[in-house]
């Protein structure tokens, strides 16, 4: 109980920090980008940390949804809310197709298959007309949600923060539900879970689609925040980034992906202008360090430390 109370206190403190951050002089667009990637990483963590499936193609959901939202708003004149919804639905449907094919194999094969499928989406986005090809979609207007004018950065900020909180709490709810317990059982021992009478593939597919749709939500919010959707959203390196965020923060912990994305986005923001392509070397180095030295991630190691003391 004591532990739970501490945890809730920490969440409330973080929320308070999020609420006052714009007044502390932090650049809101940077924070919004960070929150979008935090949603993306939380979605990814649902699959990797709790479902035990390493997808190397999550950029496909993030990027497709980003494109669909941008396209619905700019050339189809849809309202912002329905464009977000459209993006999420597109990502979920894509997740259903990916999941259907990929869950036939597990482990490293699962990773390779998702990577290959995501590459199809990348080439499709490169050649399709609605994505604007190499240029991407520029100048996507944010529009209004429920009468709120999103072109105001502060308003948009609280909408994105709200979305992050909703996703965070939603994932916590899923994990603590009976469904989440079955997922953990499958992750720990697939054959035993199956012999206990659970439909493994159904559970895997459901969590895959959930993760894909939340990744889609992250993508479509990112498109609105930055007002553009480009090929880099569907690129394989984006799939790699979300893996890094989750691993660095701690896969299988609730707060890990948020911490990881904060570290990675901050690194990219501060280093990009100063060191050029060394940023990839640094990201790769963190990857190597993470795998060799602290596989539990930042939050995972802290939790393990607290448990020992």
């Amino acid at each position: 109980m004591e532990h739970n109370r501490q945890r809730h206190f920490l969440y409330l403190a973080l929320l308070a920090l999020g609420l006052i951050a714009p007044w502390l002089g932090v650049y809101t667009v940077y924070l919004m980008t960070l929150y979008c990637f935090a949603i993306f990483a939380c979605a990814f963590n649902l699959l990797l940390g709790f479902g035990g499936m390493l997808s190397f193609g999550h950029a496909a959901f993030f990027g497709l949804s980003s494109y669909v939202t941008g396209w619905l708003v700019t050339s189809q004149g849809y309202s912002t809310l329905s464009a977000i919804l459209g993006g999420v639905v597109a990502a979920s449907l894509l997740g259903l197709v990916f999941g259907f094919i990929a869950i036939r194999r597990s482990g490293i094969y699962f990773a390779m298959i998702t990577m290959a499928l995501a590459q199809i989406v990348y080439f499709a986005c490169l050649q399709a007309s609605f994505t604007g090809g190499e240029n991407g979609l520029q100048g996507v207007p944010r529009g209004r949600i429920l009468g709120l004018d999103l072109s105001n950065d502060s308003v948009m900020y609280y909408v994105v923060l709200l979305a992050l909180c909703a996703v965070f709490l939603g994932i916590q709810r899923v994990i603590e539900s009976p469904f989440g317990q079955v997922l953990k059982a499958i992750r720990e021992n697939e054959h035993r879970a199956e012999s206990l009478g659970y439909f493994i593939n159904t559970h895997k597919l459901i969590v895959f689609v959930m993760s894909a749709s939340l990744a889609g939500l992250a993508g479509s919010l990112k498109c609105l925040v930055l007002s553009f959707a480009t090929l880099s959203d569907v690129l394989q390196s984006t799939s790699g980034e979300v893996i890094l965020m989750t691993m660095l923060g701690g896969a299988g912990t609730l707060l890990g992906p948020v911490v990881g994305s904060a570290v990675v986005v901050t690194l990219q923001n501060t280093l990009a202008d100063k060191v050029g392509s060394w940023v990839n070397v640094i990201i790769g180095g963190i990857f190597v360090l993470c795998v060799l030295a602290f596989r539990k991630g930042i939050v995972g190691e802290v939790l393990a430390y607290l448990k020992r003391h």
Partner: protein
């Protein structure tokens, strides 16, 4: 008959030749992946990066040391192999007891480092490398014109693939290797230095990738990202072929290269994705791959 499906036959044959060349690269790379996976249990994401380093090695040997193509054909894979041993000894070795996914993630990180480093050192744009004098020109065989260099690539890579297959499947060394794949502890108990064998296998696998890189240097732009897009295709090839079989890796590599070449004639828009689509179909039909066991 000068046309097939409404396309002139020389055009089709030309694309088929290109497809076969690509297929040779797929075959060499997926062969290396399969051998490494068999013994180390690691999916070597850095395979594309080693291929790229092989090509850069060729270019650098020429530009900085004045060593030509034939020297590079030996030296470049050797250097990359040594780099491979170093990485295996210092990093990959530590991951022997954990989930194979960590090996994938580690090598992914290593490939980011290699690409970023090369990009910073030599720039993002491509470098060109001349076709060696001995292999310049083209052969006219009546029904089509064969560029000699491409024929050389096909012959050289098929030979290397066959030698690798022979060593693994038909020699005493190969049978020890296969035994170590099945049960490393037992082979070690017979007095064979398994850790050394693992290191050398990794070196041979990445050396093979570097050899492919040297072969590719005169026919493509040598650029930092040349390996990263290729490695994803090779992964799909490996999923299609099943990682258990050496011959399976070679055959599916060649076959998919040719299919890709055909697609370039029939429906060019799909040529980038045809391998991935075939992978999806194969997975629905035979989840363990065409040559996979179980």
């Amino acid at each position: 008959m000068t046309e097939l499906f409404g396309f002139p036959i020389p055009v089709i044959l030309g694309q088929l030749l290109l497809g076969l060349v690509n297929g040779c690269f797929y075959a060499m790379l997926s062969l290396g992946l399969a051998v490494i996976f068999g013994l180390l249990g690691v999916v070597n994401f850095a395979h594309g990066a080693f291929y790229m380093l092989g090509a850069y090695g060729t270019w650098a040997l020429m530009n900085f040391l004045g060593i030509g193509y034939w020297g590079a054909l030996v030296l470049s894979p050797l250097c990359v192999g040594l780099l491979g041993i170093t990485l295996e000894r210092t990093m990959l070795k530590r991951l022997a007891q954990v989930d194979p996914l960590y090996g994938l993630l580690l090598t992914f990180g290593l490939s980011l480092i290699a690409e970023g480093f090369i990009r910073e050192a030599f720039g993002a744009s491509g470098q060109t490398y001349p076709v060696p004098e001995l292999l310049q020109g083209a052969l006219n065989v009546g029904f089509m014109i064969l560029p000699i260099y491409r024929v050389w690539v096909i012959v050289a890579s098929l030979m290397v693939c066959m030698i690798t297959w022979f060593v693994i499947e038909r020699t005493r060394l190969g049978s020890t290797l296969r035994a170590a794949t099945e049960n490393p502890q037992l082979v070690q108990a017979f007095g064979i230095n398994v850790p050394l064998m693992v290191s050398l296998t990794y070196a041979a696998g990445v050396g093979l990738a570097a050899f492919a890189g040297v072969l590719s240097a005169p026919i493509i732009q040598v650029s930092p990202l040349m390996g990263s897009s290729l490695v994803i295709v090779v992964f799909a090839v490996v999923v299609i072929g099943g990682m258990g079989s050496i011959m399976g890796a070679i055959l599916s590599g060649l076959m998919l290269g040719v299919i890709e070449g055909f697609t370039k004639v029939l429906y060019p828009e799909a040529s980038n994705i045809v391998v991935f689509v075939i992978m999806a179909i194969v997975l629905c039909w035979r989840p363990n791959g065409l040559f996979g066991k179980g």
